[in-house]
């Protein structure tokens, strides 16, 4: 059953390359995946994992399982995949590449989240590399070639460092299975933790290894930007939570001051960079880098005290919420570009008059991303800040995590500044040349937006729907 979740998009992608109707197959495959995922999660007993030994020595299995965090990531992946294949405007004649690449990326992401073997966890993630490279390089916008090289080299470099960390960790545990991961000897923990932080950190765009992200998302075709920023990027955080904290908790504690400083780099430095952006897509790309800082804050709180009971739910909820909201924003940005022909914020204005539905949806997504109560991100961010202070009793002196949390709170202000300014300049004010004749969002284009927006609302009002997976 779980294998089907990977095979459906994978086979559909191959089918599309082989000549099946591209868009239709992609939509059917992602719908089927949502159904299978719902079934798998609602009835855990019906599909208690899958395992196939691919190699006897060393013992490597293609084993899949869905537990806790991976369940949430699975939901995120299938929802964003469906929205992504609906979004964006595929240049005519390139449907094969467009839809098959999106499905390949999705299959890689789902495979990575479901794998319970270190080898395949790593391998599935890399499956996305070539489709991303081709999509940005061929069908991207702007400086597409430079952006494609940048993302590919950065991610390749990050994953190779990650591979070193994983191999070093597994050489101590002696097994590749997730279930055999245990704390490794203290002497090796610092090295392993450092390699994992740099490796996973590059994939998550941790400051100062973040510079690939914003240009790549800005140039990427819409489905790739949605899948990458929404889903693939969570892979690194997932890895740190599931592997990093398990094999090297003392190592993570050792590097805690560094994590704190770097995550503030994400929140404050990149936040200020975001304020200065002149284009909508670059602004969103940078904001997605910035928000990674909050999730790292939850990881920092967990490193400071592995028993911190709020940190994991906080991180996971925010990962989910951020994935949905950034996917929605990228999807709507492509609609804005299709209707007005530009993404330069200075050339836009008053779009709410001609396209009220678009403005409403964009406003909702923007508010969600800056943490307005009632929407999913708020629940996540609040829990992250609680997690930062969970170990602190009044009267005690402030630790690294608490000081970082206090500074990080200013990030909320920064994100409000850039998002509200962008919203005002794009949708409010007098109509300008680009927006005069802009049509409102079309019925078809609403489908992905509504899927994502409703998810944001439901999870925002009732976060337990996601958190329930983490309780057992």
């Amino acid at each position: 059953m779980l294998l089907a979740l990977i095979l459906i998009p994978f086979l559909a992608a191959i089918g599309i390359l082989g000549g099946l109707p591209a868009r239709l197959s992609a939509v059917i495959a992602s719908l089927a995946n949502i159904l299978v995922a719902t079934y798998a999660l609602s009835c855990p007993a019906c599909c208690d994992g899958f395992s196939l030994q691919v190699l006897a020595d060393p013992n490597i299995n293609l084993s899949l399982g869905v537990t806790g965090i991976s369940a949430v990531m699975l939901i995120l992946s299938v929802i964003v995949t469906l929205a992504a294949v609906y979004s964006g405007k595929c240049p005519s004649g390139r449907e094969k590449l467009w839809y098959s690449s999106s499905l390949f990326i999705s299959a890689g992401a789902i495979g990575a989240f479901l794998s319970t073997d270190v080898f395949f966890f790593y391998a599935f993630h890399e499956l996305a590399l070539i489709p991303t490279f081709l999509m940005i390089g061929i069908l991207g916008r702007g400086d597409r070639k430079e952006a494609a090289w940048k993302i590919t080299i950065y991610l390749a470099f990050g994953s190779i460092i990650l591979l070193a960390g994983l191999l070093l960790a597994t050489s101590h545990t002696g097994s590749f299975a997730f279930s055999d991961l245990k704390e490794i000897p203290a002497t090796a923990q610092n090295t392993v933790a450092l390699l994992l932080i740099i490796g996973f950190g590059t994939l998550v765009s941790l400051f100062p290894l973040h510079s690939w992200a914003a240009p790549a998302y800005a140039s990427a075709p819409t489905p790739v930007a949605m899948l990458h920023a929404g889903v693939m990027k969570k892979f690194g955080l997932y890895g740190l939570l599931v592997i990093g904290m398990k094999v090297a908790p003392q190592g993570m504690l050792h590097w805690l001051p560094w994590i704190c400083v770097l995550l503030l780099g994400n929140i404050i430095w990149v936040g200020l960079v975001t304020i200065n952006q002149k284009r909508l897509d670059l602004m969103l790309g940078n904001s997605s880098v910035m928000h990674m800082g909050y999730i790292f804050l939850a990881i920092a709180a967990l490193s400071a005290n592995p028993d911190n009971s709020i940190a994991v739910p906080a991180a996971v909820l925010l990962m989910f919420a951020h994935g949905i909201s950034i996917a929605l924003l990228f999807s709507l940005t492509s609609v804005v570009e299709q209707k007005t022909g530009t993404l330069e914020i200075a050339q836009l204005g008053g779009l709410a008059k001609t396209a009220p539905a678009l403005a409403f949806l964009f406003g909702l997504a923007g508010m969600a991303s800056i943490g307005l109560p009632g929407l999913a991100n708020f629940a996540g961010e609040v829990m992250v800040f609680f997690a930062g202070f969970a170990d602190w009793t009044p009267g005690e002196s402030l630790g690294w995590v608490q000081i970082t949390t206090i500074i990080a709170l200013w990030g909320v202000v920064i994100s409000a500044v850039y998002m509200l300014r962008a919203y005002r300049n794009t949708f409010q004010g007098p109509l300008v040349k680009a927006t005069e004749n802009a049509a409102d969002i079309h019925y078809c284009e609403k489908i992905p937006s509504y899927i994502l927006a409703i998810t944001l609302l439901v999870v925002g009002i009732y976060p337990q729907i996601i958190l329930q997976f983490l309780s057992n």
Partner: protein, 477 residues
Amino acid sequence: MQAHLIEFITVGLGLILLMFEAFSKGNKSQIGLVAAAGLAVILTMLFCPAPSCCPVPDWMERFYSDNQTARFYKIIAVTSTILVLLMSVDFSKVLTKFTSGDDDDSATGEFYCLPVFACAGLMWMASATDLVSIFVSLELVTITFYVMVAFMRRNVGSLEAGVKYLILGALSTGFLVYGIAWIYGTMGTTDISLYAGILENGTYNRSYLLFGIALMLIALGFKVGAVPMQLWIPDVYQGAPTPITAFLSVASKAAGFLVLMTIISPFLAAEHTGNTISAVLLIMAGATLLYGNLAAISQNNFKRLLAYSSIAHAGFLLMGVATQDYSSVSFYLGTYLLMTFAAFFVLALIRSEEDSDELDAFNGLGQRNPVLAFALTIAMAALAGIPLTAGFWGKFFIFKSAISNDVSWWLLSIAFISVAAGFYYYLKVVKAMYWNKARNENPITVPIITKFVLILLTAAILVLGIYPQPIFNLLGH
């Protein structure tokens, strides 16, 4: 049938083909197909288990061992020879052009017979257990290659490659003989299987022995393309006829590594010599990795790029040898065969169609022939070591044993940087195929043999990328 007869059969096949070629009138490239069919029969014989009735006779046993590893390398040798012959058939247009002035292919006949002799030498080398038999089989291979590299006699590049290969090859043979002499002088025997015992007793002169081994390393470094004996590779690879380049890059390298492992393994395992030799090997590995990968970055000629990539792969393989992880090295070489041949088949086709090996000849291939472009993309991804292709496992195993053997961090960093550099130059080819505009838009038709082989190789790369166990089964693990 006695196991060692298989080499004699192969030589016999070659001789018959030569006779046949001398008297046949028709299209010479048919000889290539006959040779490939003959070798296919030999290949099936290799898969049959060794018969218990008739073991290798005593007089042969000292020179020849028939074990699972040897068989694996024989399979590599025969498979790559078959692929070379098939590639040559589709390459006959270029061959004819550069061997005779007009469209007369009568001078190309030997080209389809010679690889069979090289194959016999490679197979014998896989089984050789004595310095003497190693030397003889190695020379059979090398001398055949001297002819094949320079075969396109009306092409200056091929002639230049031939001269370079001849001079440097002769030099390395000199080193090899000298090394054998020193080792024989120190150990008192050329039978490698006795070395472990002698090393344990300690009745030998360590300095003389190390000097002999150093000479050996230089000679074998030439065969596998390791720094500091790598300089011939780019020029010879670029000048030689493309099928022969593929042959050199796969079969000759695999045999070189096998010989290296056969000779060096008792010394690496021994207490008094192991650390020194493994340190030297690791330094060679680091230098080879750096040279191969950094030089490959700036190449604009696909054939030359593959030459540097072959140096880079030698670096990874040397790391595996130094950490005594011989089964990983064998696995790596097996997968290396698949991906390198896939790349060379496409290259040979483009060479025939476009008359160019430059990277810009590949521009727009994604539009001109999507299947061809897809196959080359898979091959490049595998060479770069992207997971879920066969190429990743080899690197994975080598890194794994390097990390668990506590190889020093500077070598690991070089190796990891090399992999990242590899991503760049292999993807450059992918970029040319999909991003760039084609010089001419004519679709390319793929000859039936190339098409069939490419589909087979691509499928193997992908299947082994998920399920690598079959190669280990062949290796007897």
